[in-house]
């Protein structure tokens, strides 16, 4: 078990800068996800931690020890590749025991650890099969087992669920969480799937162009995104964005946008009162818009907007509505199953002012962070 510290890390391939001035701290036993769109450098970072890619500049500490020049064989960490990288010519048992054989463990210890791991990961009766003879979920578990038997200090997982179908993905992710709880290992998990990241990890490092955009607990990432990119990337369906500027009406500060004059909560209203005329990018999550037909919990911070429901998309337990104001501005929001809306219906909706995210359009940063 170990903590991982990365200080001002740089990496380039040819002239392409993959990772630029990256700092990251991962506590002992923590489950951290590196989240980001493809090509943002998160897998490269994982490979650098594993030692498969050399570090151009910067420092990597594990357990307080500088790891930059330690060859991958001697780093006590394990990695599960996206492709699982099972050795196709070896049986499940040989695959799992490969690392232990190389480390020259005694036969009895090898057997003991093997028994332990196949019980842990429900791999009994598969031990003499070849990788091509088992299912995708089983392969994923074998890859995990192969890493776990070596008792690594840090476990690196590179999109281990992306090759599984949706149903399997859920059980596999639950299993991963269970194992993390049981073994308490430091886990660094790479994914581009924000749902996986939100449900599994203790902290998420959101990547963009080789830099960390935000590093926080999932809840914080969702509730107060630090940048426009964070706000856009996290949450589904995507956030609505409106350009506007701060205006004071009837002695109350708000944001004038094409959609409406948006009101904020008291506290933030006070802050923006001092900066009228400032350009603003306002973000509204589809989940924070209410519909009158349902329960009315209007507050003074709610903004009322009249729209025409142009499109209603049924998503099962809820529906996504695309509405258009008289002026032609679009807004997407979620309604529950009980709130039935017909297409082309005029209606009033309310935007929760406490949960409007306010960004600076130039710096792209959240003003209230």
């Amino acid at each position: 078990m170990a903590d991982v510290v990365i200080r001002s890390l740089f990496k380039k391939y040819g002239n392409h800068r993959v990772i630029e001035n990256l700092n990251l701290e991962i506590h002992d036993g923590e489950f951290v996800t590196l989240l980001g769109p493809s090509g943002c450098g998160k897998t490269t970072l994982l490979r650098m931690i594993a030692g498969l890619e050399p570090i151009d500049n910067g420092e990597l500490f594990i357990n307080g020890k500088l790891y930059n020049h330690i060859p991958p064989q001697k780093r006590s960490l394990a990695m599960v590749f996206q492709s699982y990288a099972l050795f196709p010519h070896m049986t499940v048992r040989k695959n799992i025991c490969f690392g232990m054989k190389i480390k020259k463990l005694s036969k009895s210890e090898m057997d003991r650890k093997f028994e332990w791991v196949i019980n842990l990961l429900r791999l009994k009766e598969l031990e003499n099969r070849l990788p091509r003879e088992i299912s995708g979920g089983q392969r994923q578990r074998v890859a995990l087992a192969r890493s776990l038997v070596l008792d690594p200090e840090v476990l690196l997982l590179d999109e281990p669920l992306s090759n599984l179908d949706a149903a399997l993905r859920e059980t596999a992710s639950e299993e991963l969480k269970r194992i993390h709880r049981q073994l308490g290992k430091t886990i660094i998990y790479v994914t581009h799937n924000q749902v996986e990241a939100m449900t599994m990890s203790e902290r998420i490092a959101l990547f963009r162009f080789g830099r960390i955009e935000q590093y926080d607990k999932p809840r914080v990432l969702y509730d107060s995104p630090a940048t426009v990119f964070s706000a856009e990337f996290i949450g589904s369906p995507k956030m609505n964005f409106y350009e506007g500027e701060i205006e004071i009406r009837n002695n109350v500060a708000g944001i004038k946008t094409d959609l409406a004059f948006l009101k904020l909560d008291k506290e933030r209203e006070k802050t923006i009162f001092s900066m009228p005329g400032r350009k603003i990018l306002a973000g509204i999550r589809p989940q924070t818009v209410y519909y009158t037909g349902h329960l009315l919990r209007r507050r003074y911070t709610d903004t009322e907007v009249e729209i025409l429901a142009e499109l209603v998309e049924n998503m099962g337990d809820r529906s996504l509505v695309v509405g258009r104001t008289e002026a032609g501005t679009l807004i997407r929001f979620i309604i529950t199953r009980e709130e039935k809306i017909d297409q082309d219906k005029r209606m009033k909706i309310f935007i929760d002012g406490r949960r409007i995210h306010v960004f600076d359009p130039i710096t792209q940063l959240n003003i209230f962070r």
Binding site: A50, Q73, F81, A85, G99, R146, L150
Partner: protein, 268 residues
């Protein structure tokens, strides 16, 4: 219909000679020396006489043995030199790797018949003319570019993740090679070995220039060439069949690699 006729014609052109070869090898003497009558399309009295004669001749055994020994040693030497080289070219993303591979394979465009004189002169000078070793070295020279080319392809087709995983699991370079890369490249390397065997087995130019005049070390091709004016045609055909059978059998075994190589315009 036109297409069907075309297929039939092509099959006749392709298979016809093979049929005639087999026919000659089982012909009795009356079907060859017909005394002015046309040679029959199927022998009057088919017989395995030619084969029986061939396999009772001790010189033929010697020749067969020579061919086998030379090709086996060529495979051994070619593999010892070729596998490490193809490992480097297949596994490491070195700059200029593609160019180097192309250069290696285009060595084979240089005419054998033009390079044979210098090699023979050199071997005469160092006393390797008319020796097994000289022929083996020459055949290795011919086979090595193919071995490297096929082998590099075999190593390259192994996913990088597997190697990365082995390294993370603690394997050093040699363990990675012997436990992982080598077994996985095995089918391709076997094809390269078979290809080498074929090349050495029916190689003629270098064998001819290097062994001419020394009957004891003749290979099958030289033996066949040496008796072309003298022996009855059924014997010629029988030797040809013996020479061809392993070639045809192995060719179909490595057909996949041969087709791939030729399609890329690289392997002859």
């Amino acid at each position: 219909m036109l297409w069907f006729t075309g297929i039939i014609c092509a099959l006749v052109i392709v298979i016809g000679p093979v049929y005639l070869l087999l026919k000659y090898s089982v012909s009795d003497i009356n079907s060859i020396n017909t005394g002015g009558n046309p040679v029959p399309m199927w022998p009057y009295n088919p017989t395995l006489q030619a084969y029986v004669y061939l396999f009772s001749d001790s010189h033929f055994y010697q020749v067969l043995l020579n061919s086998v020994v030379i090709s086996l040693f060529t495979i051994a030497l070619g593999m010892i030199l070729g596998i490490p080289a193809s490992y480097v070219l297949g596994r490491y993303k070195l700059p200029g790797r593609k160019v180097l591979l192309l250069m290696i394979i285009s060595v084979r465009l240089f005419p054998d018949i033009a390079s044979v004189i210098p090699v023979v002169e050199f071997f005469i000078k160092i006393g390797m003319h008319q020796t097994y070793l000289g022929v083996i070295l020459a055949h290795t020279l011919l086979a090595l570019p193919y071995i490297i080319f096929i082998g590099a392809g075999a190593f390259e087709s192994i996913p990088d993740d597997l190697e990365g995983q082995a390294i993370i699991l603690g394997a050093n370079r040699f363990q990675t090679f012997f436990k992982l890369l080598f077994p996985l490249a095995m089918p391709g390397l076997a094809a390269a070995a078979i290809y080498t065997f074929l090349l050495s087995w029916d190689e003629f130019i270098f064998s001819y220039f290097l062994m001419l005049g020394k009957q004891e070390i003749y290979t099958l091709t030289l033996y066949l060439n040496g008796i072309k004016y003298a022996e009855p045609q059924n014997l010629l055909a029988a030797i040809s069949v013996c020479l061809s059978i392993p070639v045809i059998a192995f060719s179909f075994m490595v057909q996949k690699y041969m087709v791939a190589g030729i399609s890329a315009g690289s392997v002859k």
